[in-house]
C-alpha cells in the first residue's frame, strides 16, 4: 500500500477560499487527501519525530549534534533493533512475544557459561541460536496446534527461559573469549572520526533480510495475510500453520541473536539482564507504526522506533538535571500519543471503506 494509490485526485479548491487558507488549514487539507492509515504514512511520522527530537537535542545541547552521537544510537541499541525485528514479525500476524527479554538473558548466560567452560566460540554461537529458535518453535507450535493464546504461551516461555537462566548460573559471568572481546572492542572506523561496532552491522543486515523476506517472499505475504484475517488466509489456501509457527521461530532466533549482540555489548552473562526489554521492543514496534491487531506495519518503522527510544534516552542523559525515570514517563507518553493517533486514523479508515 502506498500513499499515492489511495489518494484521490486533489479537488481544485474554490477560488474565493484559496487565498484565505492558513498554514494549518492547508496542512489539514493535505492530511485529508493522504491515506493517514497507511504504513508508509506512519513510518513517515516516526521519521519526522526522530528528526525533530534529534534536532531539538542538537539545538539544546552543545555536543548532541556530533555524528558519533547519532551513530551511538545504533551502537547502544543494536540488540534492541534485532529484537524489534523479530517482534515485528509476530505482531504482524496479530500475536505477541513476551519471552524475548528472557531469551536474551538466557542467551547471555548460556554464551558466558559455555565460553567459560572452554567451548569454541563458533559452536557456542550456533548452539545459542539453535536454543532460541527451538524455544520459538515450541511456543509457535503451542500457539498454533494447541490453540493457546500467544500472550499466555510466551508468558510461560518467559518464565521458562528465566528459570533456566537461574539454573545455569545465578551470579554474573564475565566473557573473556578472544573472538567475543575482539568483536566487542574492535570497531569499524568511519570517515569523520566516527565508528560503528560489528554488532550494528549485524543488526542492519537483519533489518535488510527482514525487509526482503516480508516484501519479496511468499512467507512474508502470508504473514501480512494472516494479520489481516487468519480465517481468510486459511480459506485462500495459504500455509497459515507453517507461517504462524515460523514467525515465532524467527522471533526466537532474533531474541537469541539479540542476546548474542547484547553479550558482545556488555561482555557478561547474567540471569537478570534484559528485564523488561520485551516491552521496549513492543513499544518500538508500536511507535514504528505497526498495528498491534496485525496485518499492517513495516520493519523499517520498528528500526526508527528503536532509534526514537534511543534518542529519548540520550536526550535525558545529556540533560544532567533530569532524573532517569523521566525516560520511562516520556516513552509512556509517546506510546500513548502514537496509540491514540493510530486508533483515530484507523477508525476513520474503516468508516470510509
Amino acid at each position: 500500500m502506498t500513499v499515492s494509490d489511495t489518494r484521490p485526485a486533489p479537488a481544485p479548491a474554490p477560488e474565493d477560499t484559496a487565498p484565505r487558507r492558513t498554514a494549518a488549514q492547508s496542512a489539514y487539507a493535505w492530511l485529508r487527501r493522504t491515506d493517514t492509515g497507511s504504513s508508509t504514512f506512519s513510518v513517515l511520522v516516526t521519521a519526522v519525530l526522530l528528526v525533530v527530537l534529534f534536532g531539538a537535542g542538537s539545538a539544546r545541547y552543545e555536543n548532541f549534534g556530533y555524528p558519533q552521537v547519532a551513530l551511538n544510537l545504533l551502537v547502544d541499541n543494536a540488540h534492541l533493533i534485532v529484537l524489534a525485528v523479530g517482534m515485528t514479525f509476530v505482531i504482524l500476524t496479530g500475536g505477541i512475544d513476551l519471552s524475548s527479554g528472557a531469551v536474551v538473558a538466557l542467551s547471555t548466560v548460556v554464551t558466558a557459561s559455555l565460553l567459560e567452560a572452554g567451548w569454541p566460540a563458533p559452536v557456542v554461537i550456533v548452539l545459542v541460536l539453535a536454543i532460541g529458535s527451538s524455544l520459538g518453535w515450541a511456543m509457535g507450535a503451542a500457539v498454533h496446534h494447541l490453540q493457546l493464546q500467544p500472550f499466555i504461551v510466551t508468558l510461560a516461555g518467559m518464565f521458562l527461559a528465566r528459570g533456566l537462566c537461574f539454573v545455569i548460573s545465578e551470579p554474573s559471568i564475565p566473557i573473556r573469549d578472544e573472538l567475543f572481546t575482539g568483536l566487542a572492542q574492535n570497531v569499524i572506523e568511519l570517515p569523520g572520526n566516527t565508528y560503528l561496532t560489528y554488532g550494528v552491522v549485524i543488526a542492519l543486515v537483519v533489518v535488510a533480510v527482514a525487509v526482503y523476506v516480508l516484501h519479496r517472499t511468499r512467507f512474508g505475504r502470508t504473514v501480512y495475510a494472516i494479520g489481516g484475517s487468519e480465517q481468510s488466509a486459511g480459506l485462500m489456501g495459504l500455509a497459515v500453520g507453517r507461517t504462524k509457527v515460523g514467525v515465532y521461530v524467527i522471533s526466537g532466533f532474533c531474541s537469541a541473536l539479540g542476546g548474542l549482540l547484547f553479550s558482545l555489548y556488555i561482555l557478561s552473562g547474567w540471569s537478570l539482564h534484559a528485564i523488561g526489554l520485551e516491552l521496549d521492543a513492543i513499544a518500538a514496534v508500536v511507535i514504528g507504526g505497526t498495528l498491534l491487531t496485525g496485518g499492517r506495519g513495516l520493519v523499517v518503522g520498528s528500526l526508527l522506533g528503536v532509534l526514537v527510544l534511543g534518542t529519548i534516552q540520550s536526550l535525558i542523559s545529556f540533560d544532567g538535571g533530569l532524573s532517569s525515570w523521566w525516560t520511562k514517563i516520556t516513552i509512556g507518553v509517546l506510546l500513548l500519543v502514537f496509540v491514540v493517533v493510530q486508533r483515530v486514523t484507523t477508525r476513520r479508515d474503516r468508516s470510509v471503506t
Binding site: 505477541i96 503451542a142 496446534h145 494447541l146 490453540q147 493457546l148 493464546q149 500472550f151 499466555i152 504461551v153 508468558l155 510461560a156 518464565f159 521458562l160 528465566r162 528459570g163 533456566l164 537461574f166 539454573v167 545465578e170 487468519e230 480465517q231 486459511g234 516491552l279 513492543i282 513499544a283 508500536v286 498491534l292 491487531t293 532524573s323 532517569s324 525515570w325 523521566w326 525516560t327 520511562k328 514517563i329 516513552i331 509512556g332 507518553v333 506510546l335 500513548l336 496509540v339 491514540v340 486508533r343 477508525r347
Partner: protein, 396 residues
C-alpha cells in the same frame, strides 16, 4: 479455604471433567497431598498470642495481594480485556501513601494514616479511570492501553518518591500489613471481604451476566441494552482499586515503599492465577472460584518448593514447568484427546476457548450489524418499532 458461590450451584451434580476449574482444583489438591506426604508438618497450625500461625496461614497471607488483584483481573479478563498496569498502580499507591506519611508533621497518628490510605486509593481510582477511559471511550486495545501506564507508571512512582526508598513508621498503617483480625492476618480478612463482596455482587445480581455479555460480544451486548461502555470502564476502575489496596498491603508489610521493586511482575502472577483458574483470556466466561484456586496454586507452589529445601535457583524453573503443565492440560485439543481416550462423551470444548468458527451461521445475523434504528434504541422495551424488535430478536 475460601468458598465462593459456584457459577451453577443447582445444576451441577456430577463433576464436569471438561471444566478447567476442576483440573485446577485437582492440581491444588495434588500439591497439598504432596505436601502432606513429604512434609508432615505442613498443615500444622498453632496459636500464638491469640493469632494463627503455620504454613497454610502463610500461604493465604502471601497470596493475599496477588489474589486481591486477580479478583479484579478476573472481571477485566471476563470483558475480554487485560490490565498490565496493576504492578505500576501498586507501586504508585504505596509510594503516595508513604510519601504522605513521611511528609506529615505527625507520622504516627491514625489521622495521617487514614489520609494517606484514602489519598492512595483515590490515586488508584484515578489511574483506573484513565485506563478505562482509554479502553472504553477511545477504544484502544486493552493490552496496549494499559501498557502505557505500565511503562510510565513506575516512572511516576519514582517521581513521587524522588527515586528514594521511603520508610516510615505508622502503627495504624502498618496494621494493614501485619495486623490480625480474629486471629487471622488482616490481609487475608481484607482480601476475603473483597472476594465475597465481588462474588455476591456479580453472582447474586445480573452484573456478572452483563460482564460476560460484554466479553462475549460488546456490540451485541450494547444492542441488547447492556451499557457496555460503563461496565468496561467500571471493571478497569475496580482492578486499579484492588491494585491500590494491594499496594497499601505490600508496602505496609515491609514498612517501606520501593517504587522500583514493589509489585514487580505481580500483573503476570495475577493473570496467571486467573488463567490457571480456567478463565479464558478470550473473555465471556469467568470463575472467581477458579481464580482463588489459581492464586493458591501459585503460592502453595512457592511455599512447597521453599519448605522442600529445593535450591533457590531451581524455584523459577520448577514453577515454570508446573505452570506450563497446567496450561497444556487446559489446551482444548489436549482436553479433547483426554476425554476421547477415557471413552467419555464427545469432546466438548469450552465455549470460552477461541476456536475459529467453522460455519458462518452464527455470525450471519450480525453482519448487517448496527441498523440505524437499533442504534438509537438503548433499551429493548423503550421502543415500539417492530423492525427494531425483529432485529434484536435476530441478535438473540
Amino acid at each position: 479455604m475460601p468458598e465462593t458461590p459456584s457459577p451453577t450451584p443447582t445444576r451441577r451434580r456430577r463433576v464436569d471433567l471438561s471444566s478447567p476449574v476442576v483440573w485446577a482444583a485437582a492440581a491444588l489438591l495434588a500439591l497439598l497431598l504432596f505436601n502432606a506426604v513429604v512434609n508432615p508438618g505442613f498443615f500444622g497450625l498453632r496459636i500464638q498470642d491469640g493469632h494463627l500461625f503455620g504454613s497454610p496461614v502463610d500461604v493465604l497471607k502471601n497470596s493475599a495481594p496477588t489474589l486481591l488483584i486477580a479478583v479484579g483481573m478476573t472481571l477485566v479478563i471476563a470483558t475480554r480485556g487485560i490490565d498490565l498496569s496493576v504492578g505500576a498502580v501498586l507501586a504508585i499507591s504505596g509510594s503516595v501513601a508513604f510519601t504522605i506519611i513521611e511528609g506529615s508533621s505527625d507520622p504516627t497518628s491514625t489521622g495521617t494514616a487514614v489520609v494517606a490510605i484514602l489519598t492512595a486509593l483515590a490515586v488508584g481510582l484515578l489511574l483506573g479511570a484513565w485506563n478505562g477511559f482509554l479502553v472504553s471511550v477511545i477504544g484502544i486495545q486493552p493490552i496496549i492501553a494499559t501498557l502505557v501506564l505500565m511503562t510510565a507508571g513506575r516512572g511516576l512512582a519514582m517521581l513521587v518518591t524522588d527515586g528514594q526508598i521511603i520508610t516510615a513508621e505508622s502503627p495504624a498503617f502498618n496494621w494493614l500489613g501485619g495486623g490480625f483480625v480474629l486471629g487471622l492476618p488482616a490481609q487475608v480478612v481484607l482480601t476475603l471481604a473483597v472476594l465475597l463482596l465481588v462474588a455476591a455482587l456479580t453472582r447474586r445480581t445480573a452484573l456478572g451476566t452483563l460482564i460476560e455479555a460484554v466479553g462475549t460480544n460488546p456490540e451485541a451486548a450494547r444492542l441488547a441494552g447492556v451499557r457496555s461502555r460503563s461496565i468496561t470502564w467500571t471493571v478497569y476502575v475496580f482492578v486499579a482499586f484492588t491494585a491500590a489496596v494491594a499496594g497499601l498491603m505490600t508496602t505496609a508489610n515491609v514498612s517501606a515503599a520501593d517504587a522500583n521493586r514493589a509489585g514487580l511482575f505481580i500483573e503476570l502472577d495475577a493473570i496467571l492465577a486467573v488463567v490457571i483458574g480456567g478463565t479464558s483470556l478470550a473473555g465471556g466466561r469467568y470463575s472467581l472460584t477458579g481464580t482463588v484456586i489459581g492464586a493458591l496454586i501459585l503460592q502453595t507452589l512457592t511455599t512447597t518448593v521453599l519448605t522442600m529445601g529445593v535450591p533457590d535457583e531451581y524455584i523459577r524453573l520448577f514453577k515454570a514447568v508446573v505452570i506450563i503443565a497446567v496450561f497444556l492440560l487446559q489446551a482444548p485439543r489436549i482436553r479433547a484427546a483426554l476425554s476421547r481416550r477415557r471413552g467419555g462423551p464427545r469432546a466438548v470444548t469450552s465455549p470460552a476457548v477461541p476456536v475459529p468458527p467453522v460455519d458462518g451461521a452464527d455470525a450471519r445475523p450480525l453482519t448487517p450489524a448496527v441498523p440505524a434504528p437499533a442504534r438509537a434504541a438503548d433499551g429493548p422495551s423503550s421502543t415500539s418499532d417492530s423492525s427494531v424488535d425483529s432485529d434484536q430478536g435476530a441478535l438473540r
